[in-house]
């Protein structure tokens, strides 16, 4: 009876030790994995920051405008190039030619 109890107790003990070992090992592995991921994440973030800084640099208006003037002959838009819808309506008549449209169509204003 006593021997049996001791034996069972020992078994339980060993089982517990085994469980502990497995769990500890797993925790450690998970911890290392987490640390690795954190590092990778930090590296990725750093890389993203570097890249976005580089994009910002490459996209700076001064650079873009110099490049577009050099290669595309683009210039800042002139307000003259913007017309209102009214102007378009005048240029492209909505009704077939010959039909009197009356005085409804107003000429979009420009003045100074």
């Amino acid at each position: 009876m006593r021997k049996g109890a001791t034996f069972i107790l020992l078994l339980v003990g060993f089982a517990l030790i085994a469980t502990l070992y497995v769990i500890t090992a797993r925790t450690q592995r998970a911890g290392q994995e987490a640390a690795r991921l954190e590092r990778a994440l930090a590296q990725e973030r750093a890389a993203i920051t570097v890249l976005s800084a580089e994009i910002a640099h490459l996209e700076s208006p001064a650079r873009l405008s110099a490049l577009s003037e050099k290669y595309l002959e683009l210039r800042p838009t002139d307000p003259e190039q913007i017309i209102s819808l009214d102007d378009v309506i005048v240029r492209i008549p909505l009704r077939a030619a010959g039909v009197e449209t009356g005085a409804e169509i107003g000429v979009g204003g420009e003045d100074d």
């Binding site: 994440l41 930090a42 800084a53 420009e110």
Partner: protein, 559 residues
């Protein structure tokens, strides 16, 4: 074994025998010891198992150890109102050496020079030969430089990761953004003004009121203008007149904040907020508003054809008139005499109160630390009142005047200028300084300056620009200097619903081709402001104003 008692009388008369069972005693004692041992052993075993059980079964997973995160952004980014990055933090590598581990300083220096050609060999060699334990050779290396040094494989060299502020847009908005010191603490500009927010752990990017596109338009036009008019300096501000947001702020000559250490001190000066100028006639709209607030009828004509003399000082007009003029024409022709007459009519106290209300007696209430206080006249008499009416005798910063002028065209409220983004619907503190009627008249009057007055060169086709020129002679040792001018222009638009204000100030512009020998504001600051406006309307996609919207609604000038 039974031992006889060690008594000589053992077998004598009494017959008493004492038997001591030594073996039994030993066995009993042995047993007791064994039991104690077993008990102790059992107890220890039990404790161990209990502890094991507790550790492995009962207790949950321990709090995860905080793994050191390589934090590369201890300082938040700064972005413009559309979220475009203006300032960010990058990891850079600083090259250090441990001289005690360097074998051959001369050889190491040679090798380093191959990788980093801009080092000074004499200095490096001297430092490598020193008996210090740690020296920095070069801070903030680029990844390429680091790789070059890395491949040298020299002993005693190492890298330390150091964060560094990067301004990817270069010179753009350099003054508004500012810079940090070596420890990444804000030292100037927004970096300093919003230092607490930027350095707070986990802070989100700081959104400024600046619009990078408008900033570039302003920058570009100022740069061109400064070159064309060979000016000593130029500064400009673009304001949203309803929220007080600074959409752009530039000062030239400027600097690259990435290399601010090598920048000339005068280039670091933010002239929009730090330089005080006697800005001249751009002050006149304030005088007109003051007169209107005191019930002056703008239609009543003043005798500006006659000289105005105060304390034996004669006030002259650049654009002389032969006939009396009403307020609209006085502003449009920029008559000093007219402005002086209005101011004298209101009087010294009224003028002072008014200018104080418009914030011209204090530093511009902006977040930046680098704002200059105005230079006010030491004593205020009738002559002072007269000269200040057309912007002489008081020196203020361009931003301060721009903010004051905003309240004339935004319906009559003074709004503190700000560099922080104001979200839609967010209320900003504002105070009424002039009545809505006065504001409406001022809007008309400033439109008239551009249609019929000195501000014609600021006109943008299809958009109602309002404005006012200002040309002032700079004060020198003996009086005002005829050849050294400060020319400024304030432009506000669109006329039908004023929303933006552009202020440009040139410091000592020179006549250029096409200006007919003039260096006055109408020929430099006005066209520059007009160019900024015309770029802004396309950037912002503003609708063209119709002819009826542009036509002035209220009183006409009329000659």
């Amino acid at each position: 074994m039974i031992e006889p008692h060690n008594d000589t009388n053992a077998f004598s008369g009494s017959r008493r025998v004492e038997v001591i069972d030594h073996e039994y005693a030993a066995i009993t004692e042995g047993r007791t010891r064994i039991i104690i041992g077993v008990l102790v052993f059992g107890l220890v075993l039990f404790l161990l198992m209990a502890r094991l059980a507790e550790v492995s079964v009962l207790r949950g997973p321990k709090a995860r150890a905080a793994f050191a995160v390589n934090s590369v952004t201890p300082r938040a980014d700064i972005v413009d109102r559309n979220g475009e990055i203006l300032v960010t933090t990058l990891e850079t590598y600083s090259l250090y050496a441990e001289p005690s581990k360097v074998w051959d300083p001369a050889q190491t220096t040679d090798a380093l020079l191959a990788a980093l050609p801009d080092l000074d060999p004499a200095v490096v060699e001297a430092r490598l030969s020193s008996n210090k334990s740690f020296i920095f050779i070069k801070r903030n290396l680029t990844p390429r430089e680091r790789q070059a040094v890395f491949t040298l494989g020299m002993p005693g060299l190492g890298f330390r990761v150091e964060p560094r502020r990067i301004y990817p847009r270069g010179r753009l908005a350099a003054h508004a953004l500012g810079w940090t010191d070596v420890d990444m603490a804000g030292a100037a500009g927004s970096e300093r003004a919003f230092d607490a927010e930027l350095s707070a752990p986990g802070a989100a990017p700081k959104k400024l009121s600046l619009d990078m596109r408008i900033q570039f338009a302003l920058d570009d036009e100022l740069r061109k203008g400064m070159e064309r008019f060979a000016a000593k300096a130029v500064s400009g501000v673009v304001l949203d007149i309803h929220t007080g947001e600074i959409l752009a702020m530039a000062s030239m000559p400027d600097f690259d904040p990435n290399r601010f250490g090598t920048a000339m001190p005068q280039t670091r000066l933010n002239r929009a907020t730090m330089a005080t100028y006697e800005l001249g006639s751009t002050f006149k709209p304030l005088t007109m508003a003051l007169a209107l607030e005191h019930g002056v009828d703008p239609e009543v004509k003043l005798p500006v054809q006659k000289p105005v003399t105060i304390r034996r000082k004669t006030i002259n007009d650049d654009h002389k008139s032969n006939v009396p003029m009403g307020m609209f024409d006085i502003l449009a022709q920029s008559s000093n005499r007219g402005a002086a007459l209005y101011a004298l009519d209101v009087g010294e106290a009224g003028q002072r109160d008014f200018l104080r209300k418009l914030g011209l007696f204090d530093r511009a209430p902006i977040e930046l630390a680098e704002t200059a206080a105005p230079q006010l006249p030491r004593e205020w008499q009738d002559l002072t009142t007269a000269t200040i009416s057309y912007g002489h005798g008081i020196a203020v910063t361009p931003l301060a005047l721009a903010s004051a002028l905003s309240s004339l065209v935004n319906g009559g409220h003074y709004v503190d200028p700000t560099l922080q983004y104001v979200s839609l619907g967010q209320e900003r503190p504002r105070r009424r300084v002039i009545s809505p009627d006065t504001a409406a008249t001022m809007t008309d009057m400033m439109r008239y300056v551009v249609t019929d007055g000195t501000g014609r060169n600021a006109a943008v086709r299809g958009y109602g620009v309002m404005g006012k020129t200002g040309t002032a002679e700079k004060p020198g040792i003996d009086g005002y200097q005829k050849k050294k001018l400060v020319s400024s222009f304030v432009a506000a638009f669109p006329y039908s619903e004023p929303k933006y204000l552009v202020f440009i100030a040139y410091d000592e512009p020179q006549p250029a081709s096409g200006t007919h020998g003039y260096a006055t504001a109408g020929w430099n600051a006005a066209p520059t402001a007009g160019a900024v406006v015309s770029r802004m309307v396309t950037i912002l996609g503003m609708k063209r104003e119709s002819a009826t919207q542009i036509a002035r609604s209220a009183q006409s000038g009329g000659h």
